[in-house]
Symmetry: C2
Subunit: 206 residues, 2 copies
């Protein structure tokens, strides 16, 4: 499979299909159609067929998609068959929530270490983790070969944290700070800013 040639907008929809398929699977469903999947995720059936066709032939005309097979394929495409270790930076409210978030299990991720720069927090226990000192973050992350990080520090600290993560070799940052981060090419940032999620919807409110 050729990576990087698929438009990002298509890649961005695959996790949404995956979640809906797993939901169907949890309800003991065996097959689905692009119509049904489309209704679940709010994307047209034609778009779903087009998106999936980028990666091969997954469904059969008339019989639809085998859910278990399609889940396996999407996990393979998204490289979720391994479990990615994730570094979590910033142990405020959001960091606490993420350190204990149950929704990573079996979805490709595992929080592996947590960091803060507050002497009152360093060394304390959050869930299964002892909070590490930000001072050693570059070496620690580099040695652990961690490529994925979540940033939950205040806006004014986020760029500096991102810079250190980049030096440490991190290639994917999930940013909760309400600020745009500058990163070099080859490093990806996703924003999970609740204001942005809400702003996408207010356009439609009467």
């Amino acid at each position: 499979m050729i990576r990087r040639d698929i438009p990002d907008i298509i890649v961005s929809r695959l996790p949404i299909y995956l979640r809906a398929l797993r939901h169907m699977q949890a309800q003991k469903q065996q097959t689905t159609s692009s119509q049904e999947l489309g209704e679940q995720v709010g994307i047209s059936a034609a778009q779903i067929r087009k998106d999936l066709s980028q990666f091969g032939e997954f469904g059969k005309q008339g019989t639809g998609y085998n859910i278990a097979f399609l889940i396996g394929k999407l996990r393979e495409i998204l490289q979720l068959e391994k479990v990615w270790d994730v570094a979590l930076i910033g142990m405020g409210d959001m960091g606490h929530a993420l350190a204990r978030y149950p929704g990573f299990t079996d979805r490709g991720f595992r929080v592996a270490m947590v960091f803060d720069n507050d002497p009152g927090k360093i060394g304390t226990q959050v869930g299964d983790f002892e909070v590490r000192n930000m001072k050693g973050i570059v070496d620690t992350i580099r040695e652990a070969e961690i490529k994925v990080a979540m940033v939950c520090v205040p806006a004014e600290a986020a760029q500096e944290v991102a810079n250190q993560l980049v030096v440490a070799g991190v290639k994917a940052i999930l940013n909760y700070a309400p600020i745009s981060l500058s990163v070099p090419e080859g490093v990806r940032v996703q924003y999970l800013d609740p204001s942005i999620g809400l702003q996408r919807m207010t356009y439609y409110l009467g």
Copy 2:
């Protein structure tokens, strides 16, 4: 301006432009170009010009965009000139984080009330809020005419909560539960599931 005729994919990019523009404004910048904005947000300059042209003529050839003017226009398009009251349901870790999240201020939203069904939490104080009983949620939200909600309850409770929100008249739900919600037409759901944010990036990791 005609609402609903603009593709959702374009609407979804406007909050991202808005955040980047506000970041520029905070740094005392007065004008920008589609090139510069594109580099900040990882979207092509041509796409940005095309997106913005859906709503009118915002920039001048050669001189670019006036940042303050464009921010005002985007806020107007996204209906962020008013402050939307938001109901927050589920006072676990994530609910606590959102109740105290500083990033809503001046971005169009205000948490107005928080709910839980746990007798040990009902009546307790979280930040500025007294936790309300889920039992009264439909009437309370309807009376307050709240149209926007954030759902942070466990996956198995999320659909039932969403059903009650719909009955109460909520039209926009930001869902943190790791599950797809079924809602009737006219109600929008956005998912801020950290696994989804991470899965969008692992595709690109070597």
